[in-house]
């Protein structure tokens, strides 16, 4: 073959692996400080530009300004953590999808490594969630203690105090359950998303499709979760109303009950129970479903992946 014969250029393109590693390291190192900085800057900015003028009809300007700024801070932090949680789920699913290889013997270990590599993202979200808790604690300090000046009187303060006095144990238990899930939620979400991504990736015909399938599964699961809440809530409430038939005109089982939720009414207890059960069910799903997904993924990989032998690929 002569030198001038046009041969296809087979040499692979040089990969800039070093820069990729450096980029990933920079993200890992800078994620937590960047999150803190972003959250801090946003809080300072929004608090600086809002609630500077108190309307003339406000009875207690101090309660108005502090209350408004606390609600704004919770809103900002909630928004940031929601974006972070969403991104964490997507990235975890994508990484989980890319962890799939061979017949899945080392799938569990590969997923653990993937999770460890992006645990910094989960910690960033936990940090933001911790910020929300801190703001809520500050709200409680402002409302119920004289530590930061005379206690502030908001509309809900009396209700919360009465509920705490009437049902201290159930309310405290509910707070503990919700708080636990709120703080470890990102870690559970990461675990769930990597497993879901890995399972979805087993349907990929080519390795390049794994990431997209994992993302599809994660976004689909998010949509399914949202619809489960909206449809489930709507359906349950429709059935309850149809059976109980609360009406202005007819005598019903709701008749005689106060129209507004009273702090001493047993509905508070029911609400606490429903919240606890819901959170525990979600948590159980996030704990046990990943194991099922990984087992299913391994079974699928064993069944579908080509087996390598000494004489070649079967």
């Amino acid at each position: 073959m002569s030198e001038t014969t046009a041969l296809p250029h087979t040499r692979p393109k040089r990969r800039h692996w070093l820069s990729l590693v450096l980029r990933w390291k920079t993200v890992r190192i800078g994620c937590l400080p960047a999150t803190l900085l972003l959250a801090g800057l946003m809080l300072v900015f929004f608090n600086a530009v809002s609630f500077n003028n108190v309307p003339y009809w406000v009875a207690s300007p101090r309660a108005y300004v502090i209350g408004g700024r606390l609600v704004l801070s919770v809103g900002v932090l909630m928004g940031l953590q929601a974006v972070g949680t969403w991104m964490l789920g997507l990235i975890a699913a994508s990484k989980g999808g890319n962890a799939v290889s061979g017949q899945g013997e080392l799938l569990q270990q590969r997923l653990i490594i993937s999770r460890r590599r992006m645990s910094f993202l989960a910690w960033a979200v936990i940090l933001l969630r911790l910020g929300v808790v801190v703001v809520l604690i500050m709200t409680a300090i402002y409302a119920f203690t004289p530590l930061l000046g005379p206690p502030l009187r908001w509309d809900t303060t009396t209700f919360v105090r009465a509920v705490f006095r009437r049902w201290p144990l159930p309310v405290a238990l509910t707070i503990v359950v919700v708080l636990t899930h709120w703080l470890i939620g990102p870690l559970l979400r990461m675990r769930y998303s990597t497993a879901l991504g890995a399972l979805a990736a087993t349907w990929a015909k080519q390795p390049a499709d794994r990431s997209l399938l994992a993302l599809t599964a994660r976004l689909g699961a998010g949509l399914a979760g949202y619809l489960a809440i909206v449809w489930g809530g709507g359906l349950i409430w429709l059935i309850v109303l149809t059976i109980m038939d609360p009406s202005y005109y007819s005598v019903s089982r709701f008749a005689g009950r106060p129209s507004a939720l009273s702090p001493s009414s047993p509905e508070v207890l029911t609400a606490c129970l429903i919240i606890c059960v819901l959170v525990l069910v979600i948590m159980a799903g996030q704990v046990f479903l990943p194991q099922v997904y990984v087992r299913m993924a391994r079974r699928r990989l064993r069944r579908t992946a080509p087996r390598e032998t000494l004489s070649g690929t079967l």
Partner: protein, 333 residues
């Protein structure tokens, strides 16, 4: 599942199987189009992401704009559940509108070069001298074009299914809490005894079938339209332009005709239901219809209208395929 998929080729027509040369050729051509492959891969995640994000946004913004209902706590829960369903449906319909538009344009653009491209490349004559009959060439191209849109179609069908369930739940709220709630025993007797449930159920079923079938019907209709434009063009560019223009004209015409028909029917019904206030002279001296007559007439009108639209769509697809064959016979090499 795998066994079921293996059975599928048996019920498929010959021209839609991989063994058919034209179908195979078209499939291979389409597999090489990177943009189509990318769109097929990314459509579902984008659709799910858009749906989830927009539903949440619509519900949060909608609920915060409307605030809480006045009244007891159970009424506030009902308000919350009903509005969440309503805003979710609104978001889903919005996503459907955007996604449907994209899929319509892609379908026409994919189907338009099917014959015009062959004519431009001077390969149409070669195809015609083979032993494959003309109708099989056209149907095989049609099937291959539709096959590569199945990912988009699946996404739209999932979205339709979700919207349908949300819509039915919302409808149940309206019917159970606003209509049945105030029914007297005499009303119930009339509803069940006089069979008033039947026309309402008929109209509801027609609406559900019409709504659920639309993505599939639209894909077939747009493919047929694109191919029809292709049969009357001498190049790919011309075919795509003609196809998109035809789709736009069809879209505007259908919106205008639907508007005129629905408005006209509503106007006639309002005249007929309340002859005392009728603006048309012909209805003034007529007796007012009974509830039974009114329910039957309105339900049958909805049923008939939806059936007519579906028949028109099916007729358009079949006519377009017939016209394509007729035109393709006279296309030179």
């Amino acid at each position: 599942m795998a066994d079921q998929l293996r059975v599928l080729p048996l019920i498929r027509p010959r021209w839609a199987q991989v063994t058919h040369p034209v179908y195979r050729l078209e499939r291979q051509r389409r597999e090489r189009i990177r943009s189509l492959a990318g769109l097929n891969q990314k459509f579902m995640p984008v659709l799910f992401g858009m749906c989830g994000g927009l539903c949440l946004l619509f519900v949060i913004l909608g609920l915060s704009a409307r605030g809480w209902a006045w009244g007891s706590w159970w009424e506030q829960f009902e308000h919350l559940a009903r509005n969440s369903l309503g805003f979710t449906l609104l978001a889903l319909l919005f996503v459907q509108l955007i996604a449907g538009m994209v899929v319509n344009i892609v379908t026409v653009a994919q189907a338009a070069p099917l014959i015009g491209g062959e004519v431009e490349l001077r390969s149409w004559g070669l195809l015609r001298v083979t032993t494959v009959p003309l109708h099989e060439i056209i149907f095989a191209k049609f099937a291959a074009a539709v096959r590569h849109l199945r990912s988009l179609l699946t996404g739209l069908l999932i979205l339709r299914g979700i919207s349908l369930v949300t819509g039915i739940l919302l409808f149940a709220y309206v019917v159970l809490r606003d209509i049945f709630y105030s029914f007297s025993p005499a009303d119930w007797q009339r509803f069940w005894g006089d069979g008033l449930w039947f026309p309402a159920l008929l109209a509801l079923c027609a609406g559900v079938i019409f709504f659920a079938a639309q993505p599939g019907v639209q894909v077939l209709l747009n493919t047929a339209l694109g191919m029809l434009a292709s049969a009357f063009s001498r190049s790919r560019g011309q075919a795509v332009g003609l196809g998109l223009a035809a789709r736009l004209v069809l879209w505007i015409a259908s919106i205008l005709s639907d508007f005129v028909l629905i408005y006209g029917l509503t106007f006639l019904f309002s005249n007929w239901l309340e002859p005392r206030y009728a603006t048309l002279e012909a209805f003034r001296n007529q007796p007012a219809p009974t509830t039974q007559q009114a329910v039957w007439a309105v339900s049958l009108a909805i049923f008939g209208y939806l059936l007519a639209v579906m028949l028109w769509q099916a007729g358009f697809i079949l006519t377009a395929l017939g016209l394509i064959q007729r035109r393709a016979r006279s296309i030179g090499p």
